[in-house]
């Protein structure tokens, strides 16, 4: 029998979750909390296998609660259940010690499976969020080594681009025409097969071109 605790500041939501979980023969809801403080006390007293945790709580964030629950009851696994589908929250939650993250719009169909998975020592991430996480972490620019086969001038232009300078500013700094800067930039993008400034910045950063401590002035 898996012992589950719930933390959500809405009683109606807790009631709904409880009924869905209690309907499963291998799951038992051992307690409900409506705040960070109550969640920590409940974890200490009941030491549940899984704590289903909302993020927005009246006295703080579910991320704080997660860290606290894990501190007072290290064997309790935390499954975040929230309306927020931002990857940034997911990262924070996992950093705080959560093992699962799902959005409320999937609560009715994914909850039971997610609780079992987290209790079994695996991690659970709502599928669309998992995809978003992968996309966010995917390498944007393939590093070709520091500068690849760029000329010295092109590396200089790339550094300036990565420092946030406009073409006109780069032209002024390097004593060349804007047209020349545009040409350099086109060559850089072609050689690196990178087509956005954001990726050029990442490339320059990963290639260590920004470590020389220069300013856009």
């Amino acid at each position: 029998m898996l012992r589950v605790a719930l933390c959500d500041d809405h009683g109606v939501v807790r009631g709904g979750l409880r009924r869905i979980l209690d309907a499963e023969v291998d799951l038992e809801v051992v307690g409900e909390a409506g705040s960070v403080r109550e969640a920590v006390t409940l974890a200490e007293v009941e030491r549940p296998d899984v704590f289903v945790m909302d993020l927005g709580l009246p006295d703080g964030s579910g991320i704080t609660a997660t860290a606290e629950v894990r501190r007072v009851s290290p064997n309790t696994r935390v499954l975040i259940l929230t309306v927020h589908d931002d990857v940034a929250y997911l990262r924070r939650a996992f950093e705080a010690g959560a093992d699962g993250y799902m959005v409320k719009e999937a609560a009715d169909v994914e909850l039971v499976q997610a609780v079992r998975q987290v209790a079994g020592g695996r991690q659970y991430v709502h599928p669309t969020l998992g995809a978003a996480l992968l996309a966010a972490d995917a390498p944007h620019a393939r590093p070709h080594g520091p500068g690849g086969d760029l000329s010295e001038r092109e590396i200089e232009v790339l550094r300036c681009i990565a420092l946030g300078m406009t073409n006109a500013e780069i032209a002024a700094q390097l004593f060349v025409s804007v047209r020349t800067v545009e040409t350099h930039r086109a060559h850089i993008q072609q050689k690196l097969d990178i087509h956005s400034r954001a990726d050029l910045v990442r490339f320059a950063r990963d290639a260590g071109l920004l470590d020389q401590g220069s300013s856009p002035e």
Binding site: V12, S61, V83, H84, K104, L163
Partner: protein, 331 residues
């Protein structure tokens, strides 16, 4: 009757002035017979502006001397003219002084009212942001929670129904479920558009990442954001993060609406005590000095920037994309 230039023709005035010195004593004798101040007054008032130069007419209306111009009369007229000219110039100097003083006073008042305007604007924007943040949280906490409750409730109806197959009931519950899920998604989007809670809870980088992802999804634009991970960015004041976020949001809206671009990039970098944000696209560009720029929300972007001591520039030429540059000083 003799017309004379009052100010413009200084050579003539000097000539009159020289002759006046010679004739002054005689003129003053004659003047004693007339009411000189009254005559001067009349001249000053009668001065009229004609094509940039001012002229006044001095007439001698003396029945006894109607038979012809007398050299003493001429001398008197010259003297009067010189007095008149200097009186008019004095009067003009005084007027100019007063105009200048008024202008300075207005300038001071304008600066004060500009400061007041900025204070009011800052207060309005701060109130608007906090109201948006509140509504955004309420949407999550109240509407989101209520919809979640409905979703869970539907599950409890659906559960038993699946055991004793009632296709009609299962189908109707499923339709309701889809409606609720859509409503939850729309609620989340609305909350995000009002003010992303992630901006307050985590920071600028994830908020911008989300903004560009949403923009890409809705518009088909290939758009990407990079935020320099320099330590300075971690301690960015919330009002600076908000200003950057809103300026980027407005700039991206412009890209989607007007630029006809394929790619756009947002790059936030910190260097030399300044935070620099570029929103760049490869679209059709425009003439920033032309009339169109008035419709691009540029004023709003500039106001946002000014409130945190920053500036916004738009660099564009027709045919070669547009770059919006926001610069904000950071400690």
């Amino acid at each position: 009757m003799s017309e004379f230039p009052v100010r413009e023709d200084t050579a003539s005035l000097e000539l009159w002035s020289a002759r006046m010195r010679v004739l002054l004593s005689r003129a003053l004798d004659v003047a004693s017979e007339h009411d000189l101040p009254a005559v001067l007054q009349q001249i000053v008032e009668g001065a009229a502006e004609v094509a940039g130069a001012r002229y006044a007419a001095i007439g001698v209306d003396d029945a006894e001397k109607q038979d012809g111009a007398h050299s003493a009369d001429e001398a008197l007229i010259m003297a009067l003219a010189a007095f008149a000219a200097s009186a008019i110039e004095n009067a003009e100097l005084v007027t100019a002084e007063r105009v200048h003083a008024d202008a300075v006073a207005r300038q001071v008042a304008a600066e004060e009212s500009e400061r007041a305007r900025r204070d009011v604007l800052a207060a309005v924007i701060a109130a608007q942001e906090s109201e948006r943040a509140r509504v955004s949280r309420d949407l999550h906490d109240d509407i989101g929670q209520a919809l979640t409750s409905v979703l869970l409730g539907l599950r409890l109806i659906e559960g038993p129904a699946q055991n004793e197959p009632d296709d009609d009931l299962v189908r109707r519950v499923d339709e309701l479920r889809q409606l609720v899920v859509d409503a939850l998604r729309r609620t989340r989007r609305l909350a995000f558009e009002l003010r992303p809670t992630v901006l307050d809870d985590v920071g600028l980088a994830p908020a911008l990442a989300r903004l560009v992802a949403d923009t890409a999804e809705r518009s088909g634009l290939i758009v990407d954001a990079v935020v320099d991970s320099a330590p300075a960015l971690g301690e960015m004041p919330p009002e600076v993060a908000t200003a950057v976020y809103r300026v980027v949001q407005e700039a991206l809206t412009n890209v989607v609406r007007h630029a006809r671009a394929t790619n756009a990039s947002v790059a936030v970098t910190a260097a030399a005590g300044r935070l620099r944000t570029l929103v760049e696209d490869d679209g059709i560009g425009f003439d920033p000095t032309g009339p169109v720029s008035g419709h691009l929300g540029l004023k709003g972007m500039k106001e946002r920037a000014e409130l945190v001591g920053g500036t916004v520039r738009v660099v564009s030429t027709p045919g070669s994309g547009t770059t919006v540059v926001l610069e904000v000083p950071i400690a």
